[in-house]
């Protein structure tokens, strides 16, 4: 597949809001987020409650009821994701934009073999015959570097390690050959070496297939070393956007505070700087109030 990197953004999001009406009033999980994703690795970093996962879900219209999604624009390719009906949306989900969740333990069906689950993902989107789907699934298992694809194809999820489970999730999400992959903490349940191996697989697939990737994570160091660009979210807003390599030079006090609060292997212990939260960060995305 040959795609040029400069054929415009895959996805553009403008002024995205996600609101949940509750008994105590409306909770705004995402408040006016805007960004574009091309054929690149975009990281979205934030702490729990920052709205990073909700942003990913809103793109696929997976925000659970009674949540409401509003945006000025939510465009993917030529499609307006806010307007198209549910049937058209189902053709986008999985086929053109797919999502890898955090924990394979909860994302895989425990009573179906791995092979049947991957086959299903392929056949639903392509209508392929069983034999063709099986061949494609085995090929995909090899692509995510499963050593013994025949055995794993026949195995049930509980017979596999967490790292293997996550590779299977990735295989399943990539088999319809999507244009955009949203990965929500895809490796945070894994050991650090396995985490790096799984990231390398995603990285290679992004490069060879010219896919776009939205990588949602709480791990600043990981995102800085893995992604091309980073958005930092706080209280439902993007407080800072920069090139990943320039993250150490971040200007927003929240980003600086987060970076400072990380213990490091190569620095002696002592008191870690503690993040002092400024209420202005929640209302002022540019961070001018904190400077």
């Amino acid at each position: 597949m040959t795609r040029t990197p400069d054929d415009g953004p895959l996805l553009s999001v403008a002024d995205l809001w996600v609101r949940f009406p509750t008994r105590k009033g409306v909770v705004e999980a995402v408040r006016g987020v805007g960004f574009e994703v091309g054929r690149e690795k975009l990281g979205i970093v934030g702490e729990s409650g920052s709205g990073k996962s909700m942003t990913g879900k809103a793109i696929l219209r997976l925000v659970p009821a009674p949540g409401e999604v509003r945006a000025r624009a939510l465009r993917f390719g030529g499609l307006d994701l806010l307007r198209i009906d549910e049937a058209a949306m189902r053709k986008v989900r999985g086929r053109r934009i797919s999502m890898v969740m955090q924990d394979p333990k909860y994302s895989l069906n425990p009573v179906m073999t791995v092979g049947r689950q991957i086959d299903e993902a392929y056949r639903v989107h392509t209508g392929a015959a069983a034999a063709a789907a099986r061949a494609r699934s085995l090929e995909m298992l090899r692509a995510v570097r499963i050593r013994d694809p025949e055995r794993v194809y026949r195995a049930y999820p509980h017979e596999l390690s967490g790292g293997m489970g996550q590779r299977i999730m990735i295989a399943m999400m990539l088999i319809p050959d999507p244009d955009l992959l949203i990965a929500d903490e895809p490796t945070s349940a894994l050991d650090v070496t396995v985490q790096m191996q799984v990231l390398a697989i995603i990285d290679d697939l992004v490069t060879t297939r010219g896919m776009g990737l939205i990588f949602i994570s709480h791990d600043l160091n990981l995102v800085a070393s893995f992604c091309d660009r980073v958005l930092i979210m706080y209280a439902g807003r993007v407080v800072e956007a920069c090139r990943a390599a320039e993250l150490p030079l971040a200007r927003h006090p929240y980003t600086r505070g987060l970076l400072g609060s990380l213990p490091r292997v190569d620095r002696p212990g002592g008191e870690l700087p503690v993040l002092r939260r400024d209420p202005a960060w929640a209302t002022d995305p540019a961070g001018a109030g904190g400077r």
């Binding site: 967490g162 790096m196 990380l262 213990p263 490091r264 292997v265």
Partner: protein, 258 residues
């Protein structure tokens, strides 16, 4: 303060037996902080559980504060050694107030003056006394972990065993808890054994550490050697490399270790 010699733990029998910990030995001096690092299944938490008496099926020798420990521990042992667990959402009883969680150890050990002790313990961990009558669901993750630390400290132990005390917390909250633990260690002359999968946390908190893989200690070293990036064993070097961030070229050089 702590001496562990040839500790082995086996789960199950016959062909299903899993040797979770194999011939692990280490020593921790009074007032020191010792780290046990490893990936999941390395046996690091099992060592901690055997040490504090939560497991009874172990072999080897465990000496704490000069006393050889058997399979059952005396009440005095638990006054001396307390543990803090990973998940503050699971380790506090959801229907007990903070006050009740903290009174229980005082009552068990018949220490008296529960009021004074509870207030002192809350102050120690940086919580206002008004937190006494709250339930866990009214607290944030960081506040819950502070309560769990207060519950351990209320007996005035000399050893604190910490099993991934910050891995369920956001990094900014993690920094607060790590600072708190360091402050408490200095103030009370505590001895720490800290188990973590996170090399940076162990490097930050500990003076010495042991790296475990598949039930065995791969190597033990002073933290300076880790900081300088000079561990001796290939397993530790790989773990350190992976902890420093994503590096596509490095991943291709990763090996499997048995």
């Amino acid at each position: 303060m702590i001496a562990v010699d040839d500790l082995s733990v086996t789960f199950g029998h016959g062909s299903d037996a899993v040797r979770a910990v194999q011939e692990v030995s280490f020593r921790v001096d009074e007032g020191d902080s010792f780290g046990l690092v490893g990936e999941s299944g390395s046996g690091k938490s099992t060592v901690l559980r055997a040490l504090c008496g939560l497991l009874s099926d172990w072999t080897g020798k465990i000496v704490v504060a000069g006393r050889v420990q058997g399979r059952r521990r005396a009440r005095a042992f638990h006054k001396l050694v307390q543990m803090v667990f990973q998940d503050p959402y699971g380790s506090l009883h959801p229907r007990h107030t903070v006050d009740r969680a903290l009174s229980e150890p005082v009552a068990i050990h018949r220490l008296g003056q529960p009021e004074r002790r509870i207030e002192a313990a809350l102050r120690d961990v940086g919580l206002d006394p008004s937190f006494r009558f709250r339930y866990p669901h009214q607290l944030s993750g960081g506040q819950r972990q502070r309560v769990a630390i207060a519950r351990a400290l209320i007996l005035e132990p000399r050893v604190l065993l910490l099993d991934e005390p910050t891995s369920a917390l956001d990094v900014s909250v993690q920094a607060e808890i790590l600072n708190l633990l360091n402050r408490l260690r200095a103030a009370h002359g505590l001895t720490f054994v800290l188990v973590s999968h996170n090399l940076a946390v162990v490097a930050h908190m500990c003076g010495r550490l042991a790296v475990m893989n598949r039930g065995r200690v791969v190597e033990a070293m002073p933290v300076e050697r880790l900081r300088a990036g000079e561990p001796e064993r290939p397993y530790t070097r790989q773990l350190l490399q992976a902890s420093l961030g994503y590096d596509r070229a490095a991943v291709d050089r990763f090996l499997e270790f048995d």
